[in-house]
């Protein structure tokens, strides 16, 4: 099964600053903009990249969920492409 929307949300978290900022304030509303299953939403809420990978997401996109984790928000990774 395609996980295009799940992957797209993760892509936007890194590449689209407004998606990132909105996600910090209301991640549920951002998730509602994408066609996600309940299982996909739970994996996103968990913040665990390993759970996203189990759903078929590309491993590097999985790591993008860490941008919402307080301890990773200042990680140098977001300043490099």
């Amino acid at each position: 099964m395609s996980c295009y929307d799940l992957s797209r949300l993760l892509f936007d978290l890194k590449m689209n600053e407004s998606t990132y900022q909105r996600s910090l304030s209301d991640f549920e509303a951002v998730m509602a903009d994408y066609d996600l299953s309940a299982e996909e939403k739970d994996a996103l809420r968990s913040g665990d990249p390993r759970k996203l990978r189990q759903l078929g997401v590309h491993g590097m996109l999985c790591l993008y969920i860490k941008r919402l984790s307080p301890q990773f928000r200042d990680n140098i990774y977001w300043a490099q492409k």
Partner: protein
């Protein structure tokens, strides 16, 4: 003119990150995929030594590049979700922009793009059965900027970014990448300018995988041995799966250069596993 210089180099971000906090950030993020992984976290002193060793390898490549006096540098690399997503994944893409830009942390990059050579390659491909995608806007990312920081820090000549999809499944075969290299070589032969080519990426690494931190040094050394012997064409028999198992899918970028240089023997090879994620590899072929 024939190609005047061919190079391959890793583009691992931590080559250009500063030892210390930036390396720690890099490791923290990647190891969130494998918290109990096999990481052997290098000390600050080891990080500095790796950076010095990489700088020495890049200096060797840069000396060869500058000695060849190229008019243009083709840069063969893979996109990593900066320019391409699943709405459209090009297998091979040639940049036909006027200029290209990018940024890596505090470092900014801005080069003229050799669109005439780009279009010549696209047209040659169409005549010979290789139909490239092409486009007039791309953003450079670490897959190009990390090696360019060391090899072409000032935009004294135009570059020509060429993309190979090594990043998402399905990816092209090593044989097809070799054929693309042969085609680029033929286009260079038709050019009146001195053309150099650089492939980036690899060697063994498993980004975004529970295997992060594992480095198949044995496989990497096999690849480097083959290039020293000038027997790169033998690598076309590898499958993508062979490369995937060794964490070496970005070697598909290198296969383009291998196809471009034919049976020339590598005149310089360097290799250093970074103990974090990647076997850093460096190769040069002096062609003139």
């Amino acid at each position: 003119m024939p190609l005047v210089s061919a190079l391959c180099a890793s583009h691992a971000p931590n080559i250009l990150l500063e030892p210390g906090r930036e390396w720690d950030d890099f490791m923290d993020l990647h190891y969130s995929m494998a918290p109990s992984g096999t990481a052997r976290r290098p000390t600050f002193e080891q990080q500095k030594k790796l950076r010095q060793d990489a700088e020495a390898a890049f200096a060797a490549l840069r000396a060869d590049l500058e000695q060849a006096k190229p008019d243009v540098l083709i840069v063969v690399a893979n996109d990593q979700f900066v320019n391409f997503f699943w709405n459209n994944i090009p297998t091979f893409f040639v940049t036909t922009a006027d200029e290209v830009k990018g940024q890596f942390t505090r470092h900014k990059f801005h080069y003229k793009n050799h669109k005439e050579l780009g279009k010549a390659i696209v047209r040659a491909g169409m005549e010979r059965g290789i139909d490239f995608s092409y486009g007039e806007h791309i953003e450079l990312q670490h897959t190009q900027t990390v090696p360019l920081y060391f090899l072409l820090p000032k935009p004294t000549i135009p570059i020509l970014p060429v993309y190979v999809n090594t990043w998402v499944d399905p990816a092209p075969s090593p044989r097809r990448c070799y054929q693309v290299g042969e085609l680029i070589r033929a286009a260079a032969d038709q050019s009146s300018e001195r053309v150099a080519i650089l492939a980036t990426g690899g060697l063994s690494h498993f980004p975004g995988s529970p295997h992060i931190g594992e480095i198949d040094e044995s496989f990497d050394h096999q690849l480097l041995d083959v290039m020293r012997q000038g027997k790169g064409k033998s690598l076309v028999d590898y499958s993508v799966q062979d490369l995937l198992q060794a964490g070496d899918t970005e070697f598909l970028n290198w296969m383009v250069v291998v196809g471009a240089i034919g049976d020339a023997k590598a005149t310089y090879t360097g290799y250093m596993p970074d103990f974090v994620a990647t076997g850093w590899g460096f190769v040069s072929w002096k062609l003139v």
